[in-house]
Structure formats: C-alpha cells, structure tokens
Point group: C2
Chain length 253, copies 2
DNA sequence: GAGCCGCAGATTGTCGACAGCGATACAGAA
DNA sequence: TTCTGTATCGCTGTCGACAATCTGCGGCTC
C-alpha cells in the first residue's frame, strides 16, 4: 500500500479503521453460515438471532442486508430471512464465477511472479489435514488455499469476491443432498498449479485451476463420484455474542 | 429456468417476487450515484436523504448497507456515509475485475454461440449516441453494452457482479480529476469483439475485450490521451421518493 | 499569535413500541 | 371426512425517541 500525498485527506495511518458493529455482526453471521452453525435453508428469526448476538434488531437487520447483497441470505418480504441454498443445478454458475475470479488471479500471479511461500504452506497444510478424517477441516484448508491464491494477486476487489465465493462454495457443499463431503486425497492439480505459477506459465496455471474447479463441480452435481469422499455431520447451531469481541481481545475467528 | 422436482418447496411461478422497500431504496441510490445526482465523495446525511426518499431512517440505513457491501458507499463509524471515490491509482484494480468477469462471459458466449442480435443492437445504439455530444448518454450506452454482454452469458452471478462494476466504472469516471469524459469515437474493438463472438473465436474475443478495457483504463489513469474526448458537467443533485403510491403526489425535488 | 481545552450543536448508533401482514389452528359446512 | 372461512398468534416492517459520539466554535492559556 503506497502512502499518498494527501496530508489532510484522511489519516489512514492515524485513524485506524475500526470495525463497526454491523461489520462484526456480518462477520459473525458469515462465520456461522460457513461453519454450519446456521444450517443451510434455515430461517433466522430476527428477535431470536439478534438476542443471541447480544444486539438489537436494528443493527442485526442492517448486517443481514450485507449478507443479502452477497447472496448468502435470502430475504422474502414479510416472511423473514433464510440462509441461502445452492442446489446442485446452480453449482455450475457458481463454479463459473470462481473460474472467472481465480483464473484472473492466476494470470496476474503468473505475470507478476510474487513469492509463493504462503501458497506452498497452504498446500502443505491442506495435505496435512487431508491425512485425517475431519471433512470440515479439509474443506477449510481447501478454501483457505483458494482465498490466499486470490489474495496473492494483490487485487482487493478480487479478494473480496473470493471471500463471498468461498462461503457460497461451502453453502453449495452443505446443500448437497448426500450431505457435506470432501475428497479424501488432494487433487494433483494443486501441485500442478503451483509449479506452473513458479514457472510463470499462465496457460498451464489457468488450465490447472480450471480443471480443479470443474472437477469439484462435477462432484457436487453428481456427474462424477469416482473419488473417495469423507462425509461429516455438522456443528450444532450456536452463535456467539459480537460485543465481547469489541470490548476485549478475542482473536478467535 | 428449469422447474425443479419440489412439489411443496416453493411456488416460484405463483409467488411473484415483489421488491421490498429496501430493494427500491437501494436501486434509487444506485441510480442517483450512477447519474451523478449523488456526487462522488459527497456525504449523505441520514435524515436528509431518508426524507428525500420519503422513508424513515431505518429502511434507509438498511438499504445503505447494501451499497456499502457493494463498495458504492463508504461508511465511517460515527461520521456517516459518503459516496465512494475511485481515484485513478485504483482504476487498474477495477479494470482487472472487469476483465475477469467480462472475459469469462465472452468465453462462455463464444462457446455457447447464442443469438447476438441484442448485442448488435446495443452497439448500434452506442454508435448512434456517439454522433452527438451527450457524454453521459455515450457512457450509458457503453455500460449498457457491457451489461448486456455479460447478461448474454446467462450467469446470474456474473451479471450481478457486472451491475456493480458498471456503477463503479461510472464512479471512477466521475472521480477523474479532469472531469467526466468519454471517447468521441466508438472503439473498433467493439466490432472486433462481436465479429469474434459470431465466429466462435474465444481467443480473439477475449483479446478484443481486454484491449478495450485496458485502453479505457489508460485513459482514466492519464497514461494515454490520444483520443478526442467529450466532457460534460453533471446533473443537479436530486432524489426521487421511492414510494410515490404511498405518499401521494410530491413532485418537488 | 498559536495552540489547547471545554462547550454547544448536530449527527449517528441503538433501542423499544406499534401497525400491518402472513402463518397457523380451529370451527363449521358440504 | 375434507374443504373452507375465520380468528388468533407471531413476526416483520416502520417509526419516533434517547444516548453516545463527533464536529465546529469560542475562550483561555502560554
């Protein structure tokens, strides 16, 4: 981030960007959807949810609009809020959006040739958790890799899109009629992707990420089931109040 | 749209999706930013803006969160809302996001080979308005073409992204230190793009859209000024009430 | 004369309350 | 027994009000 010439414009150095209450609530809701604490398709009573979060209805409703805009919550006038469902037939559209974002990120990385240490570490972590049977942890590591991939491109807008797409991908996985499941073995396309990026081979890198996402899509749409999967039941529904985060230092994510 | 197998799931045919008040307010705000009625960088007093829209602060604040999520409004805790500014140094990031979305749409169109009548008509309209000196109308036709381009790909998510990116592009144009300006002549890349799409040549189509967006970026970042431009002052700030039925006739601006 | 402190005004953030709408359960008629 | 009309309940949508915070201004001190 370059320091601009403005002196009275805005003190981005002095004035730390404090997260607003709405930011905290929205983050908590995203985390709850991501973890399955708020089950896919479930209704969110405003009074109930706001009470669990330790806030009033007003800031909760404002935060909910953030997630409605992202497509993570569905709002039907007069009938309330529901966690979005992404049925198998809608997975290809989600996949195409991810290809759009991630392939562009990959092109940028291949051209700029930044350090890939973080991505190597993320892949190592994915391979590490893949040795165990915690399906949710494997999914987390997978999406963390993809988020870091896009972050490496250095475009805040693409990173922002990817953050939402990651949650949508989780929603699609949780919406699967067969239940949440992940690959037991790490796809070789991850290794191929990093090798291509290290070599600056944009075409090969794009091919790797595209194949990887298309393969995942085929699994979710039921077109392909030739890979051993790990299934898992979900976490119990629970929400943490957001105000303790604000007052004390709670670094749990 | 395919009718799914659910019988008691939801009557998407019977139950028309009515827009909520928040939807209407958000749409009005987007239109006001797009038209310049809400100037770039200007502060939005909650009471003032909500009153102009004919609603209370609560639904306005909820709608504002929609635009904050989109990045069209910037919210600073305790200091209110401002229309976002996209300085020239941030235009390349915006451009890259557009390339990500639009190039993917172009790839999809080249592969699926849908009818291109609408796009031809949109290009004709762009050429028509380019004969006059209404810079804002030219910009409108330009962005309408790109929106239709992405819509033609048939991916709702990509269309949704493009809708926001179009407004952000307008914001970037309005943020230009030299004032809002557009090309006087239609870039030949439009014709090249449609020809490539008609021929199913994905590579050529991607090259055309990429060059087109990169050229526009160079103009906004000041790297290139070799094309004659048309400048224009902006529309006066005015907001229309979103619930005319509800309030009755108040046409004062 | 410049900088700091304190106060007043205005605005935002949050909450409780009320009205309108939809969902549900129940009673009555075919 | 089943369908329909109705009444009740709960929830959402909206509004006004209060408290906390920020901005701007004036006075004071160095």
């Amino acid at each position: 981030m370059s320091v601009t010439s403005g002196h009275a414009r805005q003190g981005s150095v002095l004035r730390v960007a404090r997260p607003s209450t709405v930011d905290l609530i929205a983050a908590e809701l995203r985390a709850a959807i991501f973890s399955g604490a708020l089950p896919v398709g479930s209704a969110l009573g405003e009074v109930e949810t706001a009470t669990q979060l330790g806030v009033s209805r007003s800031p909760f409703r404002e935060a909910a609009q953030r997630l409605v805009q992202e497509g993570l919550l569905a709002s039907v006038p007069g009938r309330g809020l529901r966690v979005s469902v992404i049925a198998p037939e809608h997975v290809p559209d989600l996949n195409e959006a991810r290809i759009a974002i991630e392939s562009q990120a990959v092109r940028r990385i291949a051209a700029a040739a930044p350090a890939l240490d973080g991505l190597e570490a993320a892949l190592a972590e994915l391979e590490r958790v893949s040795e165990h049977d915690d399906a949710l942890a494997i999914g987390d590591a997978d999406l963390a890799f993809h988020q870091l991939l896009v972050d490496t491109a250095g475009n805040r807008r693409l990173s922002h899109y990817m953050a939402t797409l990651a949650i949508e991908t989780r929603i699609a996985s949780l919406s699967a009629p067969e239940g949440y499941a992940v690959r037991r073995t790490v796809s070789p396309t991850y290794r191929a992707l990093l090798d291509a990026l290290a070599a600056g081979d944009a075409a090969a890198a794009v091919a790797a990420i595209t194949q990887q996402l298309d393969d995942a899509t085929k699994r979710l749409t039921g077109e392909s089931t030739d890979v051993e999967m790990i299934e898992r039941e979900l976490a119990p529904p629970s929400l943490q109040p957001i105000d303790p985060d604000r007052l004390g230092g709670d670094s749990a994510g």
